[in-house]
């Protein structure tokens, strides 16, 4: 196993560098550049040229590529044009926000999805099964943007102004305007209140897929002979399902986990836009718009690494969960 992991990690390095190269050329060959983006009235072509020089854009593409690769290998991701800070600083500013949001949502989505999927499998063809399917499909089909806006409308605006509920949630942001003046306990409560709507929106969007996979996988497992044996042995149904069947049904879920882990770092752009959540997704999309090359490349590099590591984690977990799978 150890050799396998080491081999995978070593193989990941050229893969990530290759992705970095591809991203570099795609981004730099796109029309426009940061100087053009910043051009405003009264600027002559001379000023534009000066700005390009200040950004280092007047050098040939290959030279810039080699310079960037060189600095990358010394751990320097460059300087963001739009934030006036080192790229690494910028990424580390927004990463915890995305980790918090995506982490909570993924955790909840997996828990709820697995429970729902199991329940559906055990009660296949019942009214409960159909009912849950309909609800899940409803949320799965919903555009994330619209769902987020609906959550704000119902639980923030209407709850407060129209129905006057005792509990209503803030419409946007990570904390209140005066959060840093609050006491520790108040500040925590405020942060959690701001977390509810965005996490719920994201969870609703993710749960359906997980539940569906879980249901299908459980159905397959539950039909197998060893389950019949367990029941015949007189084991309580709870033990049969949660101890024996569940473990065997986990393989597709682990695949999903591997695919969703990059979400922890890439964030979801629409949710971040609607809830004004300062996260990675919005940052990188904005950086593309402003042609902030170093930030786009730094961010893409980060995602690529996470995708590779996420897949590796999934492969390792397969071996952990299923002794039939051997890596060597």
């Amino acid at each position: 196993m150890r050799r396998y992991v080491v081999r995978r990690l070593l193989g990941a390095i050229p893969l990530i560098l290759g992705i970095a190269t591809l991203v570099f050329f795609v981004v730099n060959l796109a029309p426009g550049d940061p100087a053009q983006y910043l051009l405003s009235r009264g600027m002559s072509a001379g000023v534009l040229a000066q700005m390009r020089h200040n950004f280092g854009l007047d050098q040939p593409l290959l030279v810039r590529y080699l310079k960037w690769m060189g600095s990358l290998l010394t751990g320097n991701l460059g300087y963001s044009y739009s934030y006036d800070r080192p790229v690494l600083d910028v990424l580390l500013t927004f990463l915890p926000n995305t980790l918090l949001l995506s982490g909570c949502a993924l955790l909840l989505a997996f828990l709820v999805g697995m429970v729902l999927g199991t329940v559906q499998a055990v009660r296949q063809h019942s009214a409960l099964d159909s009912g849950v399917s309909v609800v899940l499909l409803f949320f799965y089909s919903m555009p994330s943007f619209w769902l987020a806006l609906m959550m704000i409308l119902i639980f923030s605006l209407w709850a407060r102004n129209v129905w006057h509920w005792p509990l209503w949630f803030p419409a946007s942001g990570m904390h209140a305007a005066s959060a840093d003046l609050m006491s520790g306990g108040e500040r925590l409560r405020d942060a959690l209140m701001h977390l509810v709507l965005p996490v719920t929106s994201l969870t609703l969007l993710l749960t359906a897929g997980i539940a569906r996979y879980m249901r299908g996988s459980m159905l397959e497992v539950v039909r197998q002979d060893f389950i019949r044996t367990a029941r015949a042995k007189g084991l309580p149904e709870r033990s049969v399902i949660f101890k024996h069947a569940l473990r065997n049904a986990l393989l597709p879920i682990i695949t999903l986990l591997g695919l969703y882990i990059p979400l922890l770092f890439s964030g979801t752009v629409f949710i971040e836009y609607v809830f004004a959540w300062p996260g990675m997704g919005k940052t990188i999309v904005d950086a593309i718009g402003t042609r902030d090359y170093p930030l786009v490349m730094g961010g893409s590099l980060l995602f690529a690494t996470m995708v590779v590591l996420g897949n590796l984690l999934a492969d390792i977990l397969y071996a952990v969960v299923d002794p039939r799978i051997r890596h060597d």
Binding site: A45, V47, Q50, G103, A171, L192, F242, Y273, A276
Partner: protein
């Protein structure tokens, strides 16, 4: 086992959530950890000076003092508090009215009044302005503001290496160190050529601290941590913190001169960045923010009807237009361009898109400006019959019956109208034009493009790859269309339309000469008429600026000068503070 594992995992996760949310990148007291040695040396000085000033100038026992005001809008102040490199509107407003000071301000008739400069003299030949600065203004780290700061700011602003975003301010100024003389600590003289409205740049350019920035090479000013991590100003508000893409927080400057009002009433000013306008409206309605800058016209009704909000609206300086590339054969003839404008029902567009919150535009001169002439519409009303006649006269006739006109060489009167992705209004304008122009035999096809790409196509001399494009522009108070329409600038980035009209050239040169407003007005009237004849753009409208304000914030004045023009005088109703 799985169950125990699951519980263990869940409890660990819960602890992680609590930890991450409680921290959230903030230290107690509201100051973000300074990541830079420059900031690490500057911020403690600001803190100690402000603490000293606070003790020396205790807050008067007036119930208006105190409270937090929260302003929300979609744009981040990307360039921060450095006037030498800032090009976005929000940043400049916060420099001019909150964190720093300009030499002069405008009163509500747009006439200069003293601010950092307590008086000024202009030489009889209009080539020198001598500013006499106030003696009681301090930078927020304790250093006195002197003439040296003004000289430094001017030298950098006129230095090409800085890439100052508004070089047209200095067109007729003597640039560089030769253009400015420090006569003593509080007297500074600027040299220029005689020109119209020469005080306007001093209304916009915030003065920068020489002692903090003079060692920074001009081409590195854009990247300096001063801008967005530790700005130091001399204005009514002190920088407290900035969380990127989330908020800026400012506090009161206890050292602000008593003669100018002393410290602002509010204890905290928070500027929140909320990129989605529906969320902004919800935050305004539920109290998450107190002021929503740039309300969308279709949201205006909700703000007006809400019992605790009021809608402020005023004519503003930005306008929407479609720029025509007269280098293209279909668009080279001014008669064609005039016909296009006559075939477009602009009044209806203002009504439906802006819900009436706007004025039809016929030139670059805004309706509230002293040079504005409403009759200079130059006879371009909505008249499809007249449009058709004009097109036929110009030689564009539908020769093959396909519904689209051609010229004698067989070129079809067909072109694209580009607009940028993400702007619903501009998309609507393009689509409405398509429908209306089809009725007079013109095939106009809307085409969407990403913003920076579209901008690139407009500004690249030699590669202006567009026919028509829906664009926006913000007029300065000193209107100078030289960049847009002068044939001498035809290969510069802003000559989008490719206009080459000797009458316009002459008028632009004449209008730049200094003269009284009374003498200038007939020239402006003529200019607006000639512009209408040339129609380099189909001007659409000046949208009103709409702002939503919670009634707990008193004394809010917003007009064409700025939404923030009297921020230091806002106060919160003591009964409604939270």
């Amino acid at each position: 086992m799985i169950q125990k594992g699951a519980w263990g995992l869940a409890s660990m996760a819960a602890v992680a959530v609590v930890a991450l949310s409680a921290c959230g990148g903030q230290e107690a007291g509201g100051r973000m950890a300074a990541t830079d040695s420059f900031c690490a040396s500057v911020l403690p000085k600001v803190d100690s000076f402000e603490a000293k000033m606070r003790a020396e100038h205790p807050t008067p026992k007036d119930p208006r003092y105190g409270g937090t005001v929260v302003v929300g809008t979609i744009g981040e102040l990307s360039d921060g508090m450095n006037s030498l490199v800032a090009s976005d509107f929000g940043s400049v407003q916060h420099q001019d009215f909150l964190n720093q000071m300009t030499l002069i301000q405008y009163d509500d008739s747009l006439r200069p009044i003293p601010y950092l400069a307590q008086s000024w003299d202009v030489s009889p030949d209009d080539t020198e302005i001598t500013f006499h600065l106030r003696h009681d203004v301090y930078w927020q780290d304790g250093v006195k503001t002197t003439a040296r700061d003004v000289a430094f700011t001017y030298e950098r602003a006129t230095d090409p290496r800085t890439a100052f975003p508004n070089p047209s301010y200095w067109d007729r100024y003597v640039k560089g160190p030769n253009g400015v003389e420090v006569l003593d600590d509080y007297t500074v003289r600027i040299h220029m050529e005689p020109q119209q409205e020469f005080m306007d740049p001093w209304r916009a350019l915030a003065i920068m601290p020489a002692h903090l920035l003079e060692d920074v090479p001009p081409d590195q000013l854009k990247d300096h941590p001063f801008n967005t991590q530790c700005p130091v100003g001399n204005g009514p508000f002190v920088f407290v913190e900035h969380e990127p893409q989330d908020r800026w927080v400012f506090g009161p400057n206890y050292a602000f001169p008593q003669a100018l009002g002393g410290r602002p009433f509010v204890d905290r000013y928070v500027y929140r960045i909320i990129p989605e306008q529906t969320t902004l409206l919800t935050d305004l309605l539920t109290g998450g923010i107190d002021i929503y800058i740039a309300v969308r016209p279709d949201q205006a009704d909700q703000v007006r009807k809400a019992p605790n909000l009021r809608l402020i609206h005023f004519p503003f300086r930005n306008f929407i237009f479609v720029v025509w590339n007269s280098r293209r054969p279909q668009l080279a003839d001014p008669r064609v361009r005039r016909a296009i404008t006559m075939a477009t029902n602009r009044k209806e567009i203002v009504q439906s898109l802006l819900k009436g919150y706007g004025t039809i535009a016929n030139s670059t001169v805004p309706p509230f400006h002293w040079a504005y002439d409403p009759s200079a519409a130059g006879g371009l009303p909505y008249d499809t019959a007249a449009a058709k006649k004009l097109l036929t006269e110009a030689g564009w006739i539908d020769r093959n019956g396909d519904g689209v006109r051609e010229n004698p060489q067989g070129v079809r009167l067909a072109f694209t109208i580009k607009y940028n992705k993400g702007n619903q209004t501009r998309e609507d304008v393009a689509e409405i034009m398509q429908a209306q122009l089809a009725k007079v035999g013109i095939e106009a096809t809307p085409r969407v493009e990403e913003w920076t790409t579209l901008k690139g196509e407009l500004i690249s001399p030699g590669h202006r790859d567009f026919d028509g494009a829906v664009m926006g522009w913000v007029s300065d108070f000193k209107i100078d269309d030289t960049d847009l329409f002068a044939s001498s600038r035809i290969d510069q980035p802003y000559a989008w339309s490719g206009t080459h009209n000797p009458t316009i050239d002459t008028l632009l040169t004449e209008l730049a000469e200094p003269m009284s407003r009374a003498k200038a007005r007939p020239l402006w009237v003529r200019y607006q008429k000639v512009l209408a004849q040339e129609q380099p753009y189909t001007f659409f409208y000046f949208p009103d600026r709409l702002d939503g304000v919670n009634e707990r914030v008193e004394n809010v004045v917003m007009d064409a000068r700025s939404d923030w023009v009297d921020t230091k005088d806002w106060w919160i109703d003591p009964a409604k503070r939270h």
